[in-house]
């Protein structure tokens, strides 16, 4: 297992290195001055220019420049934003937490609703129930997310007026950032308005989270259903039935843990699509997350923001997908067989 972990860690570093090489070569191709693309400083003074040259070793060869680039980026120096003149790193940490919050809530909705529904779909003997669930998931899988977001905000936000459709919280509330995660910050907030602020924040998160949850929800339902259907045919389930166990026990103890393995694997494969969807959802609902920040960065041709955002998001996705792969191996003894077999 230790050897396996070392190999995965190695893979993480190798993949990240490739990502940095890609970003380094793309940075050189941005249609602005190379120093602006690297640091975001327009018209630097002579001293600034000298320090930039020194920091990024612009007078040396490509390899040396790449190492300097890597040093700067890994030490947290992502340059300053061309438009706001703030350090990109600070802006990034502020928006990342909002994105994580949204992604976490959406993922929780998808898993909490998707797994029970998938199990129900696999157990139900009614053709109609099965077909309905499959039709709903297939539609959810095919729906363009921006259109879904617009329709939901038109109906529930404008026509019915039930839910707010933009932002993270009503501007009336001024929450001190402690952890960066708004919902946790509100709970830590010591004020008599804390509860109403919490409800307000929850109302704001419903529409974006539901829109974002549709894709993982449909995938979870479909994978859970097909995994459960193949597992319920297995002989050990028959044996459990023969022993007289209740269906509930069979499903919860013997079938579901095994059905969760392919679900986990597919969650890892879905991360990229999920991130793309999250960007669109954040733009539609003006969610102050990394996606909306990146898209406004590209509209303003803010090259340091684009670089910083893409690096951060891609690194997070690489890390999470390797983490999910490791988890998958840890909970699935069958996939470990391949680790030791030599081929």
């Amino acid at each position: 297992m230790a050897r396996y972990l070392a190999r995965r860690l190695n893979l993480f570093f190798a993949t990240s290195l490739v990502l940095f090489v890609v970003m380094f070569s793309v940075t050189a191709k941005f249609p602005v001055d190379h120093t602006v693309a690297l640091t975001g400083i327009h018209a630097p003074t002579a001293e600034e220019q000298a320090s930039i040259n020194e920091a990024y070793r612009l007078d040396k060869g490509q390899v040396s420049q790449f190492i300097a680039y890597l040093e700067q980026r890994l030490s947290g120096n992502l340059g300053i934003s061309v438009t706001s003149q703030n350090p990109v790193f600070n802006e990034l940490t502020a928006v990342l937490s909002a994105s994580f919050e949204l992604a976490f809530v959406a993922g929780a909705i998808a898993l909490l609703l998707g797994i029970p529904l998938g199990v129900l779909a696999s157990l139900s003997k009614h053709k109609i129930t099965q077909h309905t669930i499959m039709a709903i998931t297939l539609t959810g899988y095919s729906i363009p997310v921006f259109w879904l977001g617009l329709s939901l905000s038109l109906w529930f936000g404008v026509r019915l007026g039930w839910l707010p459709i933009s932002g993270q919280i009503n501007l009336l509330y001024e929450i001190k950032p402690v952890t960066g995660f708004l919902l946790i910050d509100i709970l830590l907030w010591d004020s008599r308005y804390a509860w109403s602020a919490f409800v307000d924040a929850l109302q704001h998160i419903v529409l974006p989270a539901v829109t974002l949850a549709v894709l993982p929800f449909t995938v979870v339902v479909r994978i859970t259903r097909s995994a459960m259907m193949s597992i319920m045919e297995k002989t050990y389930i028959k044996a459990a039935e023969a022993r007289g166990l209740r269906t509930y026990t069979i499903v919860m103890r013997h079938a579901l843990p095994n059905a969760f393995i392919p679900v986990l694997k597919n969650l890892g494969l879905m991360l990229g699509a999920f991130a793309s969807y999250a960007i669109v959802v954040e733009v539609i609902f003006s969610w102050p997350g990394v996606g909306a920040w990146l898209v406004s960065g590209i509209y303003q041709r803010d090259y340091t923001v684009i670089q910083g955002g893409i690096l951060a998001v891609a690194l997070i996705i690489i890390f999470l997908s390797i983490l999910i792969e490791v988890l998958h191996t840890a909970i699935n003894p069958l996939s470990r067989k391949e680790l030791y077999a030599a081929h």
Binding site: T15, V26, S142, P144, W147, L154, A273, I279, V280, V313
Partner: protein, 296 residues
């Protein structure tokens, strides 16, 4: 005089015939199949049957509702947008941008993915792992981020969408084909062929290729639906097709200003994208279940 049948001849359908029969047994998948055929025809000949051109503006008919609304007219079947452009005609003109380009992107990605994936799948050890993991870095950049990167370098436009979505899709094909080849390579019938003295090229072409075709077909249908959604999302974010273009995602973005007064300018292109992707997913699902008795 017709020949007299003395013996009962049992007709055994060929494997391809059996897949086709299993596929047509599913009415939803078959409906999706016909829908895709119609879409291909529309992508090719749509501009010829469209009643108006994509850019034709009728100042007498601004924001006209669809024809089933009392205020609508049959002349503009699906209504008009804020510049008086006929939405039905624009959808027809946009079919080859959204659907046709998705097909082109997937075809390119499939060819490149097939070549790299089968080479890396046939190889073993370090070389194979370097080739397959190199692309993991690209796979980890979501298609939208890739598009943002491409747009940052070259500026927005429809041709950049081709590169952005293509670069984002290719690693998926490489990975799927690599894994399929790698899995088949472990099986005993491949060892048998090798013992018979087949060289690696023969093993790949005659032994492995027929058995990974189903993976490739399924991956292709998945790729097309992902490509359509990506192209439309880029058009919506104004990073792909630009404003006057009748690309379906861009049409949604153009209708956004009138969302409250004229929701059909957003709804109708959205429904078009939904139907298109739904048809492809229905066919993909049908193919998967038609191929599955062979796969297991």
């Amino acid at each position: 005089m017709p020949p007299i049948k003395i013996y009962q001849v049992g007709h055994i359908p060929s494997p391809l015939r059996r897949i086709w029969n299993a596929f047509t047994d599913n009415p939803f998948a078959f409906a999706g199949f016909w829908a895709i055929c119609c879409l291909i025809l529309l992508a090719l000949f749509g501009p010829l049957i469209a009643p108006f051109s994509a850019a034709h503006q009728d100042p007498q008919a601004l924001l006209l509702p669809p024809s089933w609304d009392p205020a609508g007219t049959v002349e503009h079947f699906l209504g008009t947008d804020d510049l008086g452009r006929d939405i039905f005609s624009r959808l027809l003109h946009g079919a080859h941008l959204t659907f046709g380009m998705a097909l082109a992107i997937v075809a390119t990605a499939l060819v490149i993915g097939f070549v790299i994936g089968s080479i890396s799948g046939m190889m073993t050890g370090l070389k194979s792992s370097i080739l397959s993991h190199l692309l993991d870095a690209l796979l980890s950049i979501p298609s939208l981020l890739m598009a943002i990167l491409v747009v940052a370098v070259t500026g927005p436009g429809l041709s950049n969408v081709f590169w952005a979505v293509g670069i984002a899709l290719t690693p998926q094909f490489v990975r799927a084909i690599h894994q399929a080849v790698h899995e088949e390579l472990q099986k005993e019938y491949v060892t048998a062929a090798r013992l018979d003295g087949a060289n690696p090229l023969q093993i790949f072409w005659y032994v492995i290729l027929p058995n990974i075709l189903d993976t490739m077909i399924i991956q292709t249908t998945l790729g097309i639906s992902a490509a359509i959604l990506d192209i439309a999302a880029l058009g919506f974010l104004n990073l792909g097709a630009q404003a006057p273009s009748p690309e379906w995602g861009a049409m949604v973005a153009q209708g956004l200003d009138n969302l409250l007064t004229a929701p059909w300018t957003v709804t109708i292109p959205g429904v078009a994208i939904l139907c298109c992707v739904l048809a492809i997913n229905l066919v993909g699902d049908g193919l998967r279940s038609a191929l599955s008795p062979i796969r297991h």
